[in-house]
């Protein structure tokens, strides 16, 4: 009996050690081998959903063609799920096992720490000139471009026409007459609720994408994360007013319960199953909508007051080169190759995302008419402050905490403002 106890305590002690210790895995960067062939390492995010259309297949195609054209360069690609890529990437950086090229999350902190090549070093001027200016500009930090936009998207208001008709709300032909102001949103949501719609207005302020969802409401009330001079303004009066308004709608039952815990993808699924009246949508939903045979209306985002110009959110995913491997010319060859029109178009049409090069925009507009409104919105779209090196930290904090601002706008937004001004301390 005693021996069993001793063994158990040894086991327990071992378990305690093993259970609290953190695991990590890592992989090294590229290298040059003796035969003059240089291998570069590419880490890319996976845009596929549910194991369908994995991005690995896309990159295998690009790389196969690239290696054929450039026999002296090999590309090792590691495709990582969007949920994990930031963590994996931070582990690589922490262990100083830098990849050569990264496609996916933000670049600002890496750039500030001097880890990245500038766009001039790894991208042909002709390709740079081909980029959509508003997107290219978001890749600037301190006057130099580090982040190169690789793929983008913009947002629009999305309405379920069937529910709209059920609530006897006005239609214009086969399209819903979309709310233009927040007052319209409120009266429409009330009508939807009265007609028994489970979620009249979808408001996914859970940690998945809360920073973008809240930004869209803030910007249409004259707010945002930073003021005109680029200083943090998270607790600006406009933002507080925005969250007061959203909080009122939550309390009146016009949204789902507890939006602070609701993930965007879950709410999109609810929309696809016909349970959500309206929400801030994005082109990625086009496929879902089509699959579930929904009749929908896409419209500009509603504004707080009448007469304001509707603003929308632009999202860019970035590609950038790490200096550590010293493979500037190989990275340049690869990026110049990957930004060719055919590859851009292939990627965007696969995932219903928007291109970042002008020739690809022309092509996609022709091929996929449904994307045209989003493409048109892109040049004027506003971005979260991606070039600010503190943004990565602020972003993570906003995602977790901003849902709480529905109940306590002043307190939560002030906490986030304080955290933002101190970020990186």
């Amino acid at each position: 009996m005693n021996r069993r106890l001793l063994n158990a305590s040894v086991l327990a002690a071992g378990a305690a050690l093993a259970l609290t210790a953190c695991g990590s895995d890592s992989s090294g960067g590229g290298s040059a081998s003796g035969d003059g062939v240089t291998t570069i390492k590419l880490v890319a995010a996976d845009y596929g959903s549910n194991g369908q259309n994995p991005s690995q297949a896309y990159w295998d195609g690009v790389i196969g063609a690239f290696e054929q054209a450039n026999p002296k360069i090999k590309v090792d690609v590691q495709v990582i799920n969007w949920n994990d890529i930031s963590t994996k990437l931070s582990t690589m950086v922490q262990n100083k096992q830098y990849p050569d090229v990264v496609e996916g999350p933000g670049y600002a902190s890496f750039a500030q720490s001097g880890l990245l090549y500038t766009a001039d070093q790894v991208l042909d001027p002709a390709v740079q000139a081909n980029l959509i200016p508003s997107l290219a500009k978001a890749g600037d930090q301190g006057g130099a471009a580090y982040g190169i936009p690789f793929v983008s998207s913009s947002r629009a208001f999305l309405i379920n026409n069937a529910l709209w008709q059920k609530a006897k709300l006005p239609m214009n032909g086969n399209q819903a007459v979309a709310p233009k102001t927040w007052a319209d949103v409120e009266s429409d949501a009330k009508a939807l609720k009265a007609a028994g719609v489970e979620v009249p207005l979808g408001l996914p302020l859970g940690s998945e994408e809360a920073q973008a969802e809240s930004f869209m409401w803030e910007m249409n009330n004259g707010g945002g994360y930073v003021d005109a001079s680029g200083k943090w303004a998270i607790n600006s009066p406009a933002n507080i007013a925005t969250f007061k308004q959203l909080g009122t709608w939550v309390n009146e039952g016009l949204t789902e319960k507890d939006p602070g815990s609701v993930k965007r993808t879950d709410l999109y699924a609810d929309f696809a199953s016909g349970k959500v009246g309206m929400l801030n949508g994005m082109p990625i939903q086009l496929q879902d909508v089509q699959k579930s045979n929904l009749d929908v209306t896409w419209a500009p985002l509603p504004t707080a007051q009448t007469g304001q110009t509707p603003q929308t959110l632009g999202v860019g995913d970035w590609i950038y080169g790490f200096k550590a491997g010293g493979h500037a010319s190989q990275v340049k060859a690869f990026l110049d190759f990957a930004f060719q029109k055919q590859w851009q178009v292939k990627f965007d049409e696969e995932y219903d995302l928007l291109p970042v090069t002008q020739d690809a925009v022309t092509q996609v507009s022709k091929d996929v008419p449904a994307l045209v409104p989003f493409l048109k919105a892109l040049p004027a779209a506003r971005f979260v402050p991606v070039s600010n090196p503190a943004w990565d930290t602020v972003n993570a904090q906003v995602k977790v905490q901003i849902g709480g601002a529905l109940k306590d706008p002043q307190g939560v937004l002030t906490t986030l403002q304080t955290a933002a001004t101190q970020a990186g301390q």
């Binding site: 001793l6 305590s9 259970l19 922490q94 262990n95 979620v199 609701v262 990565d392 977790v400 990186g424």
Partner: protein, 324 residues
């Protein structure tokens, strides 16, 4: 104690690689008179060596890394800004969320382990009886254990979902609630459900440990009790429970550590949210890691210290058990 150390079972060792084997064969054989003692003392080394190396590699090294990381300022993207002393600890202890996180961690551990132990005692007693269908029910009990915890958690999250969840459907149809609830949407609703799911996944292991303990109680003891005219409850409290103490303690400690460190149940159901309202210290550590790896490591060190204290307490308790 000395009895135990001398009679301790040999540590299971993987078969030795051939190169080592050659050295091992020569080691126990004393050649020179002077080296006899020290060489003989090294005798067991080839057998326990691999285990030591394994422990150093997978346990001690990560712990050292963790402590070193906690003294550095490293942002959420892994960029190391250098040595920061106790700066990350100061930041952690100044964090207004830490107090409520630690309080909930204690409450969580006590509630989950408490319910688990009590329910498991009853279940073990039940499964120790002979009744038709016992084999099937014993198998059924394994299911929550066999299923991955994260799968169970996600399953429960969807059952509790506001729009798609079946609990809402059921309760609405029965007229128990006026409108659909988001059962994992705020801390007040989510916490009882988190505890429920954690107990649900802890029951099988605990019940089986206790059942094994119950089966090791000799039948003669019960016979003697019956002859002496002890009542059912007397038998249970005077005989079953004391004889069950060793397996009870093992189950208790393993559960304490497991539940304290539990990540998948909370992460799968609420991701520690909304905000950090349902985060235990382990989940909080993970959330901190997204913005400040150093602070997250500091949280790990604190967690680690708590577990060490728990283990020491257990050793105390087990010695007390021995003396009585």
């Amino acid at each position: 104690m000395s009895q135990q150390t001398t009679s301790a079972e040999p540590v299971p060792t993987p078969p030795l690689p051939p190169r080592r084997g050659a050295k091992a064969a020569s080691a126990p054989r004393p050649t020179a008179a002077g080296g006899r003692n020290s060489l003989a003392r090294l005798g067991p080394l080839p057998w326990i060596g691999p285990s030591i190396v394994l422990i150093l590699l997978v346990v001690v090294w990560p712990v050292a890394e963790m402590v070193i990381t906690s003294t550095h300022r490293i942002n959420g993207l892994g960029i190391d800004f250098g040595f920061n002393g106790v700066g990350r600890y100061t930041k952690l202890f100044d964090d207004p969320r830490l107090g409520s996180v630690m309080l909930w961690t204690v409450l969580w551990t006590v509630l989950v382990v408490g319910f688990t132990m009590v329910i498991s005692l009853a279940l073990a007693q039940l499964y120790n009886q002979n009744f038709p269908g016992r084999r099937v029910t014993r198998w059924a009990l394994i299911i929550p254990w066999a299923a991955s915890v994260i799968v169970t958690s996600i399953g429960f999250r969807w059952m509790l979902d506001e729009v798609a969840g079946m609990l809402n459907r059921l309760m609405l149809d029965l007229g128990l609630i006026p409108s659909a609830q988001n059962w994992t949407g705020d801390a007040a609703h989510a916490k009882p459900w988190l505890v429920f799911v954690a107990v649900f996944v802890s029951l099988p292991f605990t019940t089986y440990t206790l059942l094994a303990g119950l089966q090791s109680v000799p039948a003669e003891v019960y016979e003697a009790a019956r002859v002496d005219g002890a009542s059912t409850w007397q038998t249970y409290f005077r005989i079953t429970l004391p004889l069950l103490r060793p397996s009870f303690l093992v189950a208790l400690v393993i559960n304490l550590i497991n539940v304290f460190n539990s990540f998948p149940v909370i992460w799968g159901m609420t991701q520690g949210g909304p905000n950090t309202d349902t985060s235990t210290s382990t989940v909080f550590m993970y959330i901190l890691g997204q913005t400040d790896v150093g602070e997250s490591a500091a949280m790990s060190v604190v967690n680690f210290a708590v577990v060490i204290v728990m283990v020491l307490l257990f050793l105390r308790v087990s010695r007390w058990n021995e003396e009585s």
